[in-house]
């Protein structure tokens, strides 16, 4: 009878400790979340960035837009798009950028 009581007391103790831990963790978690919201509102200014649509009139032209893909298809997919499509394109480089490169090279040399 005594051993049954002892087991019940241990179980009760564990329940109390676990409940107290959950309770404290909940209090700390909610407090940290509220603090983050307060700091973000008061001390963090201008934390916004432009979206793609600020600079692109027609958005993204998708060639592939597939959901629920098997993991094995990944390598095949990446291989297909792994080549620079603009490799052959030659562009004129502004003079200032060429001079900066020359300056950087001479400083390295």
């Amino acid at each position: 009878m005594e051993s049954v009581n002892a087991i019940q007391t241990d179980a009760l103790l564990i329940i109390i400790i676990v409940s107290a831990a959950v309770f404290l963790f909940t209090c700390v978690a909610i407090s940290i979340f509220i603090m983050y919201r307060i700091l973000n509102k008061f001390n963090n200014f201008g934390d916004t960035e432009c979206s793609l649509y600020q600079y692109s009139y027609d958005g993204i032209r998708f060639k592939v837009n597939k959901d629920n893909v098997a993991l094995e298809e990944k390598n095949e997919f990446m291989e297909k798009y792994g080549k620079n499509p603009y490799e052959e394109v030659e562009r004129t480089i502004p003079e200032l950028l060429i001079k900066n490169a020359e300056k950087a090279n001479s400083e390295k040399g």
Partner: protein, 384 residues
């Protein structure tokens, strides 16, 4: 180099409020386009700047202005001397300052109002002497961009949650993307200053620089290509992310390529820098000189934050205690209900805990950027 007033030979300064050059002595005003500068040659690829050096510590100050301060901010020494005239590459255009120093200061101060966490010492530093107007070099590019992404996300199907994979590949054309042309200014900060409205852009005229400081681009073409690719990837991946469903979405793999179209424009864009030291650490808050947007993270007083944290904690503790006690009294004996309550509390707590920790980490990262010694030096080199 800057011209002097044709009426009294006084110093002409560009006034953002009137968009005119104004003489500080006789009050005459002129449109920058109408002022003829005998030293300037609009056909030339270069324009002149003045370089000053501090005789005490050797610091270099570059300005296209006719006047320079009488002390060095590095060492506080007054021995600052004109050193040489340097030729800088002439930009294609610029957006003139539209926000005056006073308005910029007001915008910063309005953020301080009713803010109990910003130390008084910092609030006191919001004075005109700590604000400098600097034209930042930018490359304005048009680019074609291609990206392929492989993503995962947790999708709920009936009662189960399954990990699903997504494929996205596409391209887009981006126009007038501003790329910060200075290696020293953190791209993550300069990005937040956007948008700049290019309808307000003007052909470059060095007279617009009067009363301000400027910097030149130190990027190479390889740097620019890398910056364009990263910037486009940042914009593109954000849009792609929103096309996928599910929770805990993440990119598993991404490949991307950018092609900068010919003739990117080299432009000067206006930014006010509010710089100060707090607890011996430098801080810089940026204000878009065209729109007035304030960017940066202010330091906070630890004592106050700790007090608020414990007050919030005490409040939550009290509310939760009442809640749990109420449940215990009213539903005594309903063990299952309490178990469910504990599980629900645990789930909510875990979610808000991770959000809170991630959020506070982000704010701390932002303040690290704001506190960057490099930006501080960047601004101080262009001392008022």
């Amino acid at each position: 180099m800057a011209v002097l007033c044709s009426n009294c030979s006084g110093r002409l300064i560009f006034n953002p409020a009137s968009q005119m050059l104004e003489c500080a002595i006789c009050g005459s005003s002129f449109y920058p386009e109408d002022v003829s500068d005998i030293n300037a040659n609009a056909q030339s690829k270069y324009y002149d700047t003045r370089v000053y050096t501090c005789g005490h510590c050797g610091a270099e100050v570059i300005t296209s202005d006719t006047e320079v301060s009488t002390f060095c901010v590095y060492c506080g020494n007054p021995a600052i001397n004109f050193s040489r005239i340097a030729k800088e590459y002439r930009p294609d255009g610029l957006i003139p300052f539209k926000i005056t120093k006073e308005t910029a200061l007001e915008n910063v101060k309005s953020k301080f109002k009713k803010n109990p966490f910003i130390p008084k010492e910092v609030k006191d530093k919001a004075v005109p002497e700590n604000i400098r107007g600097i034209y930042i070099p930018y490359w304005i590019v048009n680019a074609r961009f291609t990206e392929a992404d492989y993503l995962s996300g947790e999708v709920k199907e009936e009662r189960d949650t399954r990990l699903r994979y997504f494929q996205r590949a596409g391209s887009c054309v981006l126009k007038n993307v501003p790329i910060d042309g200075s290696n020293i200014l953190n791209d993550k900060i300069s990005m937040k200053l956007e948008p700049f409205l290019f309808e307000g852009a003007k052909e470059f005229d060095e007279d617009y620089l009067n009363g301000f400081y400027s910097n030149t681009s130190d990027l190479t073409y390889a740097d620019l290509r890398r910056s364009v690719a990263n910037r486009c990837h940042y914009l593109y991946s954000d849009a792609v992310f929103n096309t996928c469903i599910g929770k805990n979405r993440k990119f598993i793999d991404s490949i991307y390529w950018a092609d900068i179209q010919d003739d990117p424009l080299y432009m000067m864009l206006p930014v006010w820098f509010f710089t100060f030291r707090y607890k011996d650490e430098p801080h810089t808050i940026l204000i878009n000189g065209q729109t007035g947007k304030v960017v940066g993270t202010m330091p906070w007083e630890k004592k106050r934050i700790t007090t608020v944290f414990w007050s919030v904690f005490a409040g939550i503790f009290a509310i939760m205690s009442l809640f749990v006690l109420g449940i215990t009294f009213n539903f005594a004996g309903l063990g299952d209900f309490l178990n469910i309550l504990i599980i629900v509390l645990l789930a909510i707590a875990t979610a808000v805990f991770s959000t809170g920790i991630v959020g506070i980490k982000r704010i701390r990262k932002n303040i690290q950027r704001t506190r960057s010694e490099e930006i501080f030096k960047f601004v101080k080199k262009r001392q008022a």
